[in-house]
Symmetry: C2
């Protein structure tokens, strides 16, 4: 496989990132309105600015041959639990739909876990929709354990 | 019930907060070493400083008649998902063990959800250990749905 580069997302990446967030059956149902292509709703830009400005949040893209092939958001959460260890939370993991099943997701998560280790985090956590059985097997194969219920309240 | 006051934790609260984190069967197993009472490990202080300094993290205490009766950590996570909505994540929820079952936890979570609404969050989320069946029922009664697997990788 061609070289995969991981880097922090830039403004110019936002349309491709939003397209990946929408190009997903479960995710698409959550995003109201028509698919976003050329025009990006102002709310997405505001979301990007907020993530970009926060030193404990990093929107990451995986790039191959100059094209975005994946995205995920890393949130480093400080805490008093577990003797004051920071934890890494991974959200919004997406691989471009035509490139799934080729190990890109595995390299993304492995890279994220490596970042957490280097930073001295005590834990990496994420939640996956219970309908995504393949995602559970994927994360379990990377050492994650489904020890918790992920509970959500939509406002 | 006497009035319950919610406020941001101060340095002086840290020993009582750590005691609540430890006074819990599942939580205690996670914290290495002897119980912390008079002396607080430096790592807990560092954890407190990190949370306290972060505008997107708030360590909250519930106080009644001048005594701490509960604690929780709120993390506001910016995002591009859900049309750029911020989400509130609640972690490290504890009610003092001798005061459980009296509705303090319910008032804490209701207060946290109100904070999220006021701030314009699109979602409130948390994970609970699968062994805490009573906690699942509690959160379900507050409208949370166990739609996700909560996956953890301890480093």
């Amino acid at each position: 496989m061609a070289e995969l580069i991981f880097r922090t997302a830039r403004r110019a990446d936002v349309p491709a990132i939003v397209a990946m967030l929408l190009d997903d059956e479960i995710g698409a149902a959550r995003e109201s309105g028509p698919p976003v292509h050329e025009e990006i709703d102002a709310a997405y830009w505001a979301g990007f600015e907020a993530v970009d400005a926060d030193p404990r949040n990093e929107l990451v893209v995986a790039e191959r041959d100059g094209e975005l092939v994946g995205t995920m958001q890393l949130t480093f959460i400080p805490s008093l639990s577990r003797r004051g260890a920071e934890r890494l939370q991974i959200e919004a993991v997406r691989v471009r739909s035509d490139l799934r099943g080729r190990g890109i997701g595995r390299r993304m998560i492995t890279w994220a876990v490596d970042q957490a280790r280097e930073r001295g985090c005590g834990l990496v956590q994420l939640t996956t929709d219970k309908r995504r059985a393949d995602a559970h097997r994927f994360y379990a194969s990377l050492g994650f354990q489904a020890t918790h219920e992920g509970m959500k309240l939509i406002l």
